[in-house]
């Protein structure tokens, strides 16, 4: 299951539980009764502690999966990405000028071997953009911001060959929705 669906599922389950609790309480409001304050405060403490423990567990489960790369592996390929209103230039050579950006964004798609670690070095030549890598089927796989003045390094290992579109995930002007880039993952044969 893709991570999006896992997150959606977790959300739906917790939401269903919360909504059920609400429905149960709101259906039990009529019979006026004096609640034992001690019982309420005990239950409240228990509820707060349970929530805290759940949060700590969720932290422990998710913090090891930060999307920021570690240096222990050496990438097999570097792709330089320069974003600019309104296209992504992807190239195997660094993009340092508008002319190079134009050539990179209009030239043929960069080719990347499947199952190899690729490092995208992402920057912007003007405003903030979002470098969002989509699968050929249209699922968002990973992203990093393209920020002027910084080079963000996103490392990916893509399994399936195909043409991967890049969409802009930070509002960058009137053609934001049509800003894109593309690269191609090809099968390496041996694996």
């Amino acid at each position: 299951m893709i991570p999006q669906y896992k997150a959606l599922l977790a959300f739906l389950i917790i939401t269903a539980a919360a909504t059920a609790t609400f429905l149960w309480v709101t259906r039990n409001t009529a019979n006026k009764e004096r609640l034992n304050p001690e019982a309420v405060s005990k239950l409240r403490s228990r509820f707060a502690i349970t929530c805290a423990l759940l949060l700590i567990a969720a932290l422990a489960l998710t913090l090891p999966h930060l999307p920021y790369p570690r240096g222990s592996e050496i990438p097999d390929k570097v792709v330089f990405v320069a974003a600019k209103q309104f296209a992504f230039g992807l190239s195997e050579a660094p993009i340092a000028s508008d002319a190079q950006w134009e050539a990179a964004s209009q030239g043929p798609a960069v080719r990347i071997p499947a199952n190899r670690l690729v490092e995208f070095r992402v920057t912007s030549l003007d405003v903030n953009h979002g470098f969002g890598v989509y699968s050929p089927g249209g699922t968002l796989l990973a992203q990093t911001q393209a920020m002027p003045g910084y080079v963000n390094r996103l490392r990916l290992r893509l399994q399936n060959p195909g043409r991967y579109p890049v969409l802009c995930l930070e509002l960058c002007g009137m053609e934001h929705h049509s800003m894109r880039g593309i690269f191609e993952v090809f099968a390496t044969g041996k694996e």
């Binding site: 209103q85 911001q145 910084y150 509002l171 009137m174 049509s178």
Partner: protein
């Protein structure tokens, strides 16, 4: 039974009149902004193929700013009114804030609707300086002038409420520190505690906004080359907090109103005091979850961001939500439109909060950031949360001031329609987020064409929502106008 506004003897006619005016203003802005929202979803559903996308982005900018502004002001008005049971805030400052807000909103409307200034409500540096032919420099200047006016007048109102609290309570009392030390006396109403926390934090947000504006000027005039990462931090420090605090002001209203319907008191217990003091500490760091995809932030900052965001949900939500439910359970709860809206508002807050915690997970954010999941979660706790809470307050007050105590016969149906429209519209956002549809796209590329269908379905639900709102708000507006007239005659 004590009525929530039983201390309305403390409220001067001028305060009542002002509050009714704020209610009318907030509702009017709300409707306008909802219409803009409908336009946005229709646009994404390809209903206006002949209209240039630049209109989408300027409408998007205006929609969000008006929505944020309307309900920040609405909740401030509610808190101002309810605070008058305990302290005396200045009506003059509130009127000044109203004048400033109107001028600010007009300027921002001019800049977006006439100037086509479409940079999003968070005007992320340095986009406003890169129009690329879409808008002219005057639109940028008018926009920032409008923002500056809002920041100044809102800050004045915020500081005045703080001043009013300070006249009666010491800082440690207002923050409930004596209760944390185990004392029971003197009593501090949760309203005062939560409001104090919220106002201190919102001051930080407004100062951050002012800093952003100043740095924009410095950069725009070529006097400095401002760091984009710093600007982004400041932008979200301001943006996140102002939205977050609007929610907390709504919760402050909840703490004050709900007991009247339940017939039980809701006091500042040790846990409540602890929870809101924890909020004061954590809320300044929660904004960091907006910068997870900025790999330039050091790793430890991101970890702090996730931890702060997670634990922020605990004190405010777990304590307040549990408190609400315990308050109404077997209380002989009086169900009126206002009290229903309050309870629905708490549920919306919870659901939006769960979605927010999911998205505040760095590992998840990697595939949810700037997809429709983000508007999904904040529309939930805004539209189905704080908006309902503040509307509940307006509903209740306008009833009390006009003496019309009975609900209209169709109230249940209207509420159902409102919830159906609202949650149906939200479901499309959640579904969009889970299917990788980006947010803030005027039209969708072929990879995410599912967004088009989702937008059309969402638009249909928005129409239902709007129908419910028009029926409900028009009656309420009539009541507010009547109450306004009555107060005028009284003074």
């Amino acid at each position: 039974m004590s009525s929530p506004t039983s201390a309305s003897s403390a409220a001067t006619p001028r305060l009542r009149r002002n509050t009714m005016l704020w209610a009318l203003l907030a509702m009017a802005l709300f409707l306008v902004s909802t219409l803009l929202g409908l336009f946005l979803r229709l646009f994404q559903g390809n209903s206006f193929p002949a209209v240039e996308p630049v209109w989408f982005y300027s409408a998007l900018t205006l929609h969000a700013l008006i929505m944020v502004g309307a309900w920040f002001l609405g909740s401030m008005a509610g808190v101002h009114y309810l605070l008058s049971r305990y302290v005396r805030p200045s009506s003059a400052i509130s009127e000044l804030a109203m004048g400033g807000s109107v001028v600010g909103v007009v300027l921002i409307s001019i800049s977006t609707l006439l100037g086509k200034f479409g940079v999003g409500w968070y005007f992320l540096f340095p986009l406003p300086l890169y129009p690329n032919g879409a808008w002219s420099p005057w639109a940028t200047i008018v926009f920032f002038a409008g923002l500056a006016i809002l920041a100044v007048f809102w800050l004045a109102w915020v500081l005045d409420l703080l001043r009013a609290i300070a006249r009666r309570y010491s800082l440690s009392m207002a923050l409930g520190w004596h209760i944390l030390r185990g004392a029971k006396e003197p009593e501090v109403p949760p309203l005062v505690l939560i409001t104090t926390v919220s106002l201190v934090v919102v001051t930080a947000a407004l100062v951050a906004a002012a800093l952003v504006l100043a740095l924009f000027v410095l950069h725009g005039s070529g006097r400095a080359n401002v760091d984009a990462l710093l600007m982004k931090n400041l932008t979200f420090l301001f943006g996140h907090i102002i939205v977050n605090i609007t929610l907390y002001l709504g919760v402050a209203i909840l703490y004050e109103l709900l007991p009247a319907f339940a017939g039980r008191p809701w006091k500042t217990s040790w846990l409540v005091a602890f929870a809101w003091n924890a909020v004061l500490l954590l809320v300044l760091f929660a904004y960091l979850h907006h910068l997870y995809m900025d790999f330039a932030q050091p790793r430890w900052v991101q970890v702090v961001g996730q931890t702060a965001s997670y634990f922020l949900s605990l004190p405010a939500a777990a304590v307040s939500v549990f408190g609400s439910l315990a308050l109404i359970y077997r209380s002989g709860f009086r169900w009126t439109m206002a009290s229903r809206l309050l309870v629905c508002g708490v549920l919306g807050w919870v659901i939006g909060g769960i979605a927010a915690v999911v998205d505040a997970t760095v590992a998840v954010n990697s595939v949810f950031h700037n997809t429709l999941w983000v508007p999904a979660h904040f529309h939930t706790y805004y539209l189905m949360g704080v908006v309902l809470m503040v509307l509940a307050f307006f509903d209740h007050l306008s009833r009390e001031l006009t003496g019309s105590d009975t609900d209209v016969p169709a109230a249940g149906w209207i509420l159902s329609l409102l919830l159906l429209g609202g949650y149906g519209f939200l479901a499309m956002f959640y579904y969009g987020g889970a299917t990788s549809v980006p947010r803030r796209f005027a039209t969708y590329p072929e990879e995410t064409l599912q967004g088009v269908i989702q937008a059309r379905v969402a638009a249909a639900f928005v129409v239902l929502l709007l129908a419910a709102l028009v029926i409900y708000l028009s009656r309420m507006a009539a009541r507010c106008l009547r109450a306004f007239a009555l107060c005028r005659n009284a003074s």
